[in-house]
Amino acid sequence: MASLLGRFCRKLVVPGSAHGSRMTSTTACGSETVKSLNLYSAINQALHIALETDPRSYVFGEDVGFGGVFRCTTGLAERFGKNRVFNTPLCEQGIVGFGIGLAAMGNRAVVEIQFADYIYPAFDQIVNEAAKFRYRSGNQFNCGGLTIRAPYGAVGHGGHYHSQSPEAFFCHVPGIKVVIPRSPREAKGLLLSSIRDPNPVVFFEPKWLYRQAVEEVPEHDYMIPLSQAEVIREGSDITLVGWGAQLTVMEQACLDAEKEGISCELIDLKTLLPWDKETVEASVKKTGRLLISHEAPITGGFGAEISATILERCFLKLEAPVSRVCGLDTPFPLVFEPFYMPTKNKASSSSSLSSPSKNTHFLIHGFSRLL
């Protein structure tokens, strides 16, 4: 799995790859150096650059001082000092509240929540304070300098409290942005954009990819725009939409489907709030089918929002119902994780992907010949 992911991620990023992927993110120019980095190193690089380029920026949270439990903050305290990079008491509502106060004074506060599973004590500060800070003050105040980073998603052995994908809760809050990178190169650019965006951003990092994903990452300061989805693989028969680590799974499903003659268009949403409806709409109008996949439980998941929107905009062009391949409606289980997860087999056997051509009769029952 590790090598598979490693190979996949390197494949994702190579410009002008065999998939004919259209690269809308900034690519390294010939003169810029790149380095092979994993996800946590890429994020670490982004944080170094952020603190270097803005003397009024801060990084704090539990255990960030020594480098953090996932090593994302390595070297920052030594380089920028304990006044700017520091540990906080174990209190998420305090971490985010303190960050809001700093941001409201015009600083950039890049706060870390140790696991997305523990973000809930800060939910009041995020929803009732950060998201409404600018609006309720009539734009006299804002906390746009706030960025909240949290590792999210399955890790193989995380169980209930080290595997959650809580993005849907935050996508329902006008006033914040929700960003989820799929790879090291994307993470660095998206994190720098998030930090510099004048709105509070919740940045979920797929912890599964911290070490597993390795990619050529440009060493310079670059940003990848928010609210712009990317077609990372072009196709004509079906559109697949996902984010974060799930894209590696979906890429595999696409490769398998291709063997059966199904041409798949894969889209990385990147920013879930506000999300790029136009790119997904254009794709579905071309392909006529949509499959959305996320680790979070299917009921009330963000896939439902995408499905409803696309139905509104593309109803007459759709040849099949929108399909969602997601986590089950259970707490994230430990030993049952392989059964819970929306694997490539579930994607491949979903009704959308198993009716190969536009002309064949739509099959209601999925079948597992791709297993």
Partner: protein, 471 residues
């Protein structure tokens, strides 16, 4: 890693100095001891060894005792733990749940407005005293008229600060204009002191086009960046950890200013109270936390809120210097806040003030407090423990205020407030586009679409929508 080594060197040196264990270190051999399983002991440098050994020593209580008893120079009554040295006792004694004596309340003026002899207090000039009194009186008139305006249906909601005028004005008077204020919602006097006009108060309550908040929030949710006063939000205590962040920012920028934040007795039960105080203390942020203990959180009396001796005793739990003050004594409040502010700024530390008072008014216009408390209790506080009257007596006794001044300030305030209300009521609401702006810095596509959709709908069916909104 190098930094960790040099830190360990420093720790070794300081430990040696503090514990006088140099004798022990020299005597020890570095072969692994049965008590420690750490394989580092045998292989690393002397420096790391000493540090590791000492660190393990400090967490292995028995061994530490042995060592300590070996040394003649060491005080045998203390133990080393991660938090530092602590004495030990063989007497099993529980700390009582409360002291036999409650923390006394700092006051300067007696109930008759006379300075208690030998009081510590910061003198207040005639000019300042008169200004303070005028603002307290204006606040009273403002509260009365706006409350009535709500009763008449002219504004939707209102919260008064009746009974807490001394806290409102005296605390504001003790601060510098650069101090950043994060209010709860019962401190409009702070904004009044800083120069927010009566018209601006009225505009916010009516949510008209001149409201700086652009009509988005309920009345009394004032905010003004010009006056360094964050916008009021309804959730309780959320401002406390934010104040710690604000204070930290001021510290980092080396400003001669602190954060000042208010909370009620009820608000101290919120998790954000704990978060705010702990963060301010640990991160050494210059914050003055002012708790208005007015006895009631809507209908919940303080006996149902906490079992501690109020809020002042909680300060020490966070390592925060604290004081209990008579919140109805303007001079005491002034001195306490002024001193706390100086401490916060000079020593870069938080300070907690518990101001004892009474909420004479109802919680808000949506509340009738006679339903849960005795009418004569309210009356007693309103008449006999009135902070405005008390301060007035002192100002008058100094010859700084007369009956004529009194009627003048009240009639002027009344006139201005009524004018402000009449004007605010007439003006249009903010244009409809302000419904969609400021959600983000720039309007995203979904809001642009929704705005277009709504505009079409309103133009098509204007009768379904309230008038006064420019499309």
């Amino acid at each position: 890693m190098a930094i960790w080594f040099s830190r360990s060197r420093n720790i070794v040196f300081s430990l040696r100095h503090n514990l006088n264990l140099s004798g022990i270190l020299i005597k020890r051999d570095y072969s692994p001891r049965p008590a420690f399983t750490n394989s580092q002991l045998s292989s690393k440098s002397v420096c790391l060894d000493s540090f590791t050994s000492l660190r393990h020593e400090s967490t292995a209580v028995e061994k530490q005792l042995d060592l300590v008893q070996q040394s003649d120079e060491e005080d045998p009554q203390e133990l080393n733990f991660p938090g530092g040295k602590v004495g030990y006792t063989s007497e099993m004694k529980f700390i009582p749940e409360s002291s036999s004596l409650r923390v006394p309340c700092y006051r300067v003026l007696d109930e008759d407005g006379r300075i208690i002899s030998n009081s510590d207090y910061i003198p207040v000039s005639e000019k300042l005293a008169v200004r303070m009194y005028e603002h307290m009186a204006t606040l009273q008139v403002m509260d009365h008229i706006f409350y009535e305006a709500q009763r008449q249906g002219r504004i939707s909601f209102f919260i008064t600060a009746v009974g807490e005028e001394a806290i409102n004005i005296a605390s504001a008077a003790a601060l510098s204009p650069d101090d950043v204020v994060l209010p709860q919602y019962r401190e409009p006097g702070v904004l009044l002191w800083r120069g927010f006009t009566l018209q601006e108060f009225a505009n916010q309550c009516f949510g008209n086009k001149a409201d700086r908040g652009k009509g988005r929030q309920m009345p009394v949710h004032y905010g003004s960046n010009r006056h360094n006063h964050f916008t009021v939000s309804s959730p309780i205590a959320t401002q406390l950890p934010q104040a710690a962040g604000v204070g930290y920012s001021l510290k980092m920028e080396k400003k001669n200013a602190c954060a000042v934040t208010f909370i009620g007795d009820g608000g101290t039960s919120e998790g954000d109270f704990h978060a705010g105080l702990n963060f301010a203390a640990v991160l050494e942020a210059p914050v003055v936390f002012i708790c208005r203990n007015n006895g009631w959180a809507i209908s919940t009396h303080i006996s149902e809120q906490f079992r501690s001796d109020g809020i002042v005793v909680k300060g020490q739990a966070y390592g925060i210097r604290s004081i209990r003050v008579d919140g109805n004594d303007a001079l005491a409040v002034y001195s306490a806040v002024r001193s706390a502010r100086e401490m916060a700024v000079k020593e870069q530390r938080p300070v907690l003030i518990e101001a004892m008072t009474y909420r004479v008014g109802h919680h808000s216009t949506s509340d009738d407090s006679t339903k849960y408390r005795a009418a004569d209790e309210i009356q007693y506080w309103k008449m006999s423990r009135n902070p405005v009257n008390r301060f007035r007596k002192w100002v008058e006794d100094n010859g700084w205020w007369s009956e004529e001044d009194e009627s003048k300030i009240r009639s002027n305030a009344r006139k201005q407030i009524l004018q402000a209300i009449q004007a605010a009521e007439k003006w249009d609401k903010p244009p409809l586009t302000e419904l969609f702006s400021d959600v983000y810095d720039v309007k995203p596509k979904n809001l642009e679409e929704q705005e277009l959709g709504l505009k079409e709908l309103v133009e098509k069916r204007p009768q379904d929508y309230p008038p006064g909104f420019q499309i």
